[in-house]
């Protein structure tokens, strides 16, 4: 049952990433702690979006929506930060 296997692997991968992010927070990496946390969160998001939400296989429209949201989020953060 390949679909079941795929979902299970995704689940195990998510738990592993969680262990990694919690574990890394006990190491003193300075500013890299936050960066690492965000990278791991992004990786988890990719796993959930692609394997649980079928983002890659549901046609072009869902990806369009995600791309638009990502682009506008970038505008919101980017232009607010230039004022600082």
């Amino acid at each position: 049952m390949s679909e079941f296997r795929k979902l299970t692997l995704a689940y195990i991968g998510l738990l592993a990433l969680l262990a990694l992010t919690v574990g890394s927070s006990f190491l003193a990496l300075g500013g890299f702690n936050s960066a690492l946390n965000l990278v791991i969160a992004a990786a988890k998001t990719a796993v959930i979006a692609i394997l649980f939400m079928h983002l890659a296989s549901d046609g072009v429209l869902p990806r369009l929506a995600v791309a638009a949201a990502g682009f506008w989020l970038m505008i919101l953060f980017g232009l607010t930060l230039i004022g600082q």
Partner: protein, 545 residues
Amino acid sequence: MSSDLASASYLAEGAGPRSWLLTTDHKRVAWLYFVSLTAFFFLGGTFAVLMRIELATPAGDLVSDDVYNRLFSLHGIIMVWFFLVPSIPATLGNFLLPLMIGARDLAFPRLNLASWYVFMFGSLFALASVVLGGVDTGWTFYTPLSTLYANGFVSTAAFGVFIVGFSTIMTGINFIVTVHTLRAPGLTWFRLPIFVWTLYATSLVMVLATPVLAASLILIVLERVFGIGIFNPDLGGDPLLFQHLFWFYSHPAVYIMILPGMGVVSEVLPCFSRRPLFGYKAVALASMAIAVFGFLVWGHHMFVSGQSAYAGVVFSFLSFCVAIPSAIKVFNWSLTLRKGEISFETPMLYALFFLALFTFGGLAGLFLAALAIDVHVHDTYFVVAHFHYIMVGGMVTAYMAGLHFWWPKLTGRMYSEVWGRIAAAVTFIGFNLTFFPQYVLGFLGMPRRYHTYPPEFAFWHILSSAGAVVLAIGYLMPLLYLAWSLFRGAQAPANPWRATGLEWQTSSPPPAHNFDRMPTVTRPAYDYPMKGLTEKRSDPVEDLV
């Protein structure tokens, strides 16, 4: 009403309140919105007239300063969120979008009806804040005024605006999905009427900007009700951050308001000059460019709010850039008129007034985008005049153009052309008389939001107040003759203006499922002058399909 037409019309599907309040027909939902929005328009207009009467004399003799604060706040809140933002999309857009793309309904008809109920639920809160005593923060809810000092019903009003945001997002999602999935066979993206393009661009802005407003309003209510100090400097918060979030929504919201108006004008101008729209692709893409660029300029509301000089320069530059797609449109509209067989029916009069007033107001926007000039005229009547030229002179005028253009389609009745033209002229004169003096006042240094002023400003204020009365008459007249036409107007043919577009291929008013035969599109939009349509004034179906 002849019986064979009545049996086919969506209006004949039922007559009781249930048939309206539980309908999922996009055409009837459009009417639900239309009735509610008209009520809000006249409520907001009443507040404006009261302000102008107060300002007819330099002294504060009609209302106190506190009442005046509440008047302009409620005028802004109601006009922006309960009229302008939903105005064209929820009424004309709701009615016409499926017709224009050859669909039987919007993608989610029940969601569409739900959006109206959510809108009404939100408006209850806004009306409650009016009845309970009003809000005195201005429509912008600036912190820390709104969180620490305001003694009006800020939470009630903010919550109402928050709820209405849901209705906006519902409409936006519905429109986006509809345009993507329900276009008729042959109706490619570059054959879409510009009105559909602008509704699509508007929906994009609605879906992506409204949640940011929701976030800022949630935080305000949390701060007022739960005591979380997010914008309170004493508790570590940052009041400027509210302005960032607020204008991230509210500047694009200006384009939510004006883009559908641009769409209406792009339909009306080609029809009454019997010419294809000049530079169709440029106009279509300019609509999308406005939707994107509109998000990059919010900092120009904060030039004097203490953001860094560097940010000011960037936002000033970007604000000049956003004028480019608007200018592209103005040039294309003007060139559409060139060598056209222009006739001056009521919708065309309104569309031409739009062209004049939008250009005039837009150019004043460039003044405001310039950092040094903005420091001088910021928070004066110059700004008030600028955005009223865009919002009232532009948007409301376009709304009137669209209303008159599609009224035969909406109702199956013709209105009085004579009264239509008179009302358009009265509106134009009244509008300029009201708002042009405000440019002068602002330039002379009259700040906005004061209920008294030094006597040397009296001349311009009196002119403006007189204009407001003329303008009010100009807006009351259509209410009367359009209502009259519902009962006494002549039967409208399917295509009274000899216009292109799928909505004119079905009967007036359309049947409940829009088309008896689902249309197929083989030609570009604005295929004027339509050969073979010059003699016959009705039933163009054979000529087009």
